[in-house]
């Protein structure tokens, strides 16, 4: 059924459900698009329940209930129960602001499997400044304690950039103190809001090198105690990251209004036609929607990707980044050392200034 006849169609493993774009925080690297979808356009409870059922039938195993801040949805418990009842592993990705202890208890009763809480820094003042919300840090600590008390497994997510990159060790110590079983050290990826704030967020090459060594050391030191997963900062890399495990291969993303995207940044590529769960089933979208077939497989590739030995490993890198940095979404991700535009990436990374953040606001 795929547009490219010889591409085996995989079943998606994960579905990112952006339940709302509303969020009390204003993180300058927010992964939501610049054009946020308003509350009036959000899918209702019954539609989400139908989508979860269709996702499970399609082979999806895990659903990531995200946003915005999913706690901004009054029907979060019903939505979570629907995902659980569909047989999906349910993961709540939250800022912790807007989820009360009472709600958390109801979510646990509804079958919630895992909670991920973001932490902006290891010190309250800096953390609240980055989040653009006074008191956020304290509320995160409080909710993390509730999660652990309910024996729900906890991941702490730390987004790393110039303002906090020197405190990775302290942030991992905080995750341990909070009782997390896993910590994600995710360097900022530069799309949307982060791209807009790039010069204020970008660390130096030396900082990134040090941070990589620190993470390696922490992994050894805390082996068996906490799982440390890292998302690498690709502006300083030689090889590109495999775009969401391959475009239209492992995952899909449903926006608050119901548009289905191959990844959360895909709307930054102009000219792609996205289908909505309001008009199509998830299986139909996965197989036939033009956006999913645009970069599926390898037949869309040009040189140097087309004949590259790594083409089925990294899929030419990230399509959104290729477009953002070269203006051509089918180009080699310029993070790749084989891209003719590779040198420009280091030049862009070198532009740094401490301008005030452009906070993400609706």
């Amino acid at each position: 059924m795929a547009a490219h006849g010889n591409v085996p169609l995989h079943s998606p493993l994960g579905l990112l459900a952006e339940l709302t774009h509303r969020c009390p925080l204003g993180c300058p690297y927010c992964s939501n698009p610049l054009a946020l979808e308003p509350r009036d356009d959000e899918l209702d409870t019954a539609t989400w329940a139908r989508v979860f059922g269709e996702a499970a039938a399609l082979g999806v195993l895990q659903v990531h209930l995200s946003g915005g801040e999913p706690g901004a949805r009054r029907d979060l418990v019903e939505i979570t129960a629907a995902a659980h009842d569909a047989g999906l592993y349910t993961n709540l990705i939250t800022s912790a602001v807007g989820i009360t202890a009472g709600t958390l208890q109801k979510l646990a009763d509804a079958g919630l499997d895992h909670v991920q809480i973001s932490i902006q820094d290891s010190t309250p003042k800096s953390a609240d400044h980055i989040a653009g919300y006074d008191g956020a840090f304290g509320r995160k600590r409080a909710l993390a304690a509730e999660v652990v008390a309910l024996k729900i497994s906890l991941t702490v997510n730390v987004v790393v950039h110039r303002a906090n990159i020197e405190r990775i060790e302290e942030m991992v110590a905080l995750a341990l103190a909070l009782g997390a079983s896993r910590v994600e050290i995710a360097h900022v990826q530069y799309y949307g809001w982060a791209l807009r704030n790039r010069t204020a967020l970008m660390p130096s090459a030396e900082q990134v090198e040090r941070a990589t060594a620190v993470v390696e050391d922490l992994r050894k030191r805390h082996h068996g105690e906490i799982v440390i997963d890292a998302v690498v900062p690709d502006y300083y890399a030689r090889l590109p990251k495999p775009c969401v495990g391959g475009w239209g291969r492992r995952s899909l993303n449903v926006t608050p209004a119901g548009k289905v995207l191959p990844c959360h940044a895909a709307e930054s590529i102009p000219g792609l036609e996205f289908w909505s769960v309001r008009e199509h089933s998830l299986a139909d979208i996965w197989k036939n929607s033009p956006a999913f077939n645009a970069f599926r497989g390898t037949s869309w590739m040009k040189e140097p990707c087309k004949s590259c030995a790594r083409r089925d490993i990294d899929f030419g890198g990230c399509r959104c980044q290729a477009f953002a940095l070269t203006g051509d979404a089918a180009a080699t991700d310029p993070v790749c050392h084989l891209s003719p535009r590779h040198d420009e990436v280091a030049a862009l990374a070198a532009v740094q200034n401490d301008a005030p953040y452009a906070y993400r606001r609706m």
Binding site: G59, L61, N91, K151, T155, R182
Partner: protein, 96 residues
């Protein structure tokens, strides 16, 4: 790191923690271990071991059961099982 890891006591009762589930998925081609934001394919041996990690059975009982079921030398089963359980525990996929 393996030289420093402590032995698993014979009376340990390994179990999957909340947030880790073993499920069978037709679409994904077999058994998988679902964990926080991660999915691990489980081969036949892993499935047989993990299925027995109920929090009820002791390590000794699990090894006895597997040795009997697969008619294999107990020492070899013991070595395989403890290595796998330690690996899973280090990844926070199992409680010992």
């Amino acid at each position: 790191m393996s030289e420093a890891t402590p032995a698993i006591p014979a009376d340990a009762r390994p179990r999957l923690p909340r947030g880790v589930r073993l499920v069978h998925s037709e679409a994904q081609g077999g058994w998988v271990l679902l964990a926080p934001e991660r999915v691990f394919k489980a081969d036949t041996i892993a499935v047989e071991i993990v299925k027995r990690c109920t929090g009820e059975a002791t390590l000794d009982a699990i090894v006895d059961d597997l040795a009997k079921t697969f008619n294999a030398p107990r020492e070899r089963i013991f070595a395989d099982v403890t290595a796998m359980l330690r690996g899973l525990a280090d990844k926070k996929l199992l409680e010992l």
